[in-house]
């Protein structure tokens, strides 16, 4: 049964799109047929991060409106045969996301894919609500700072009350936390919240900690999901997170300040 996974956060700029790309790529690398959908209508970014911006013809909104069919709009990744990108429209806005249209498209995607990764827009308005409404599983992307944690908390509350699973009293949306832009050195100095601080407030399972890393920016700018870069700490942290998502046990890396020296020896100053 295909699984709909929403990547959401409430707050903007925490790394939802980077995570969507890296997570979808990680699933594809493990052999799962995966599509990643851009729900950020009007602020189309996922295609850039996935490096397929020059191949976009039809988009999500065209398919919702019936102007194009699914296979015309889906873009196959050139690096991995299991990975597909479903770009959104840059000229429309979030109001174009009609719930019944989205439902129809998702049902159609479920016939073809194992995982449907939804890259949510920021905020708690229509676009974000539509992105999370049909989710079976949610990955809450949070930065180790108070405003991001509070917004994540709000989104968790919305997932628990306004998702389709909540409305139908079905088993709740599976929740997982992904802590991104984590800098153990700044945490040690008290400039960032610790993993434990964040966990205590959000109290949902931790899927992974992605260290702040130059490789993330480089990956974005070159249109490569960072999980394709196995030499970068962030890429390996994403692959760990995907493994944990699939139920594997992996030791949490890049977290503890005492690991910092090990980390720096291997990768230089991150």
């Amino acid at each position: 049964m295909a699984k709909v996974v929403v990547i959401t956060s409430g707050k903007g700029g925490v790394g939802k799109t980077t995570t969507s790309a890296a997570f979808a790529a990680g699933l594809a690398l493990r052999g799962h047929k995966t599509v990643v959908i851009d729900f950020d209508v009007g602020l189309r970014n996922l295609d850039l991060v996935m490096g397929c911006e020059r191949r976009v013809v039809f988009d999500f909104i065209n398919v919702i409106n019936g102007d194009a069919n699914l296979n015309q709009a889906l873009i196959k990744d050139k690096r991995n045969d299991n990975l597909f990108i479903f770009p959104t429209s840059q000229t429309r806005d979030k109001d174009a996301l009609k719930r019944d249209g989205v439902e129809r498209v998702l049902e159609e995607l479920k016939q073809q894919f194992d995982y449907i990764v939804c890259d949510s827009p920021a905020g708690i308005e229509h676009g974000a609500i539509t992105a999370l409404y049909f989710a079976d599983s949610a990955i809450i992307v949070t930065n180790p700072e108070v405003s991001s944690v509070r917004d994540s908390d709000r989104i968790i509350g919305i997932l628990a009350s306004r998702s389709r699973r909540a409305e139908r009293s079905e088993p709740p949306v599976e929740l997982n936390l992904l802590l991104t832009r984590y800098d153990p050195m700044r945490v040690a100095k008290g400039e960032m919240l610790t993993v434990e601080d964040v966990m205590e407030i959000l109290s949902i399972p931790l899927l992974g900690v992605i260290p702040e890393s130059e490789s993330v920016l480089r990956a974005s700018n070159t249109g490569t999901p960072v999980s394709f870069d196995e030499d970068s700490p962030a890429g390996r942290a994403y692959l760990d997170a995907v493994a944990r998502f699939m139920g594997e046990q992996r030791e949490m890396r890049f977290v503890k300040p005492e690991r910092r020296s090990f980390f720096r020896v291997l990768f230089g100053k991150a």
């Binding site: 908390d153 709000r154 509350g157 205590e200 407030i201």
Partner: protein
């Protein structure tokens, strides 16, 4: 004295069918009617009829309905024909429940569907079952225990709000707001296993985070109103 405080009265209340709120034409029609007789509708109380409207199931839905009606100067005060889950959600949104299906004392049923002032918490506390919440209360969530105590067995996040006409117990960290004795019961108290609140209030007296004594922060405390002063004691 308590006897004099509670008096029955009959009111005329408009009833809006919940299904109509989803109808695109409803707002236009409502706007037209209000334009014809604006003073009649000014702050007029409205009861939402939930008959065959099971989709209204969350507090947010009711808050949205209230906001929608508010735009047209109408004040949503309660619901009728609600299912038990809907009563709970409506109550969380601060709405009263009117008969026939409300599980309430017969005295209230007899006078329904009449809005009446909520009886003081002290009188009703023994009748309404305690509201129990076992999940973390997330930022942006408001929980109202109408006429009763509220017990939370998980953490209350910053930006969440607990309101009870009776006492509030939090068996976890209290990081949001807690307002006990919300309808005036000065005997209500707040208990929590870790005080990190943004605001605590009893019967309208309140302290914001800044005013909470530093030495009490992070500890299990009991908060009571003593001689009109909010008093925090460590448990």
């Amino acid at each position: 004295m308590a006897g004099n405080l509670v008096q029955g009265a009959l009111f005329t209340v408009m009833v809006v069918r919940a299904g109509m709120l989803r109808d695109a034409e409803f707002e236009d029609e409502l706007a037209r009617q209000i334009e014809r007789s604006p003073r009649f509708f000014q702050n007029a109380p409205v009861v939402l009829d939930l008959k065959s409207a099971e989709a209204f199931a969350t507090a947010e839905e009711f808050v949205r309905a209230r906001e929608l009606l508010r735009q047209y100067t109408l004040a949503l005060v309660g619901v009728q024909n609600a299912l038990p889950a809907q009563i709970e959600a409506a109550s969380a949104a601060g709405l009263a429940s009117f008969a026939p299906s409300a599980p309430q004392p017969s005295r209230r049923q007899a006078s329904a569907p009449t809005p009446e002032p909520a009886p003081p918490a002290a009188e009703r506390a023994s009748r309404a079952p305690t509201r129990l919440v076992t999940e973390p209360v997330r930022s942006g969530t408001q929980i109202y225990a109408r006429g009763t105590d509220l017990v939370v067995t998980a953490a209350v996040s910053p930006g969440a709000e607990l309101v009870a006409d009776g006492n509030i117990h939090v068996y976890g960290a209290l990081r949001g707001r807690a307002l006990a004795g919300a309808s005036g019961d000065a005997g209500a108290r707040i208990f929590c296993s870790r005080l990190e609140a943004e605001l605590v209030s009893i019967a309208g007296r309140y302290l914001v985070s800044e005013q909470l004594p530093q030495e009490q922060r992070g500890f299990p405390v009991e908060i009571a109103l003593v001689d009109e002063q909010l008093t925090i004691t460590r448990n």
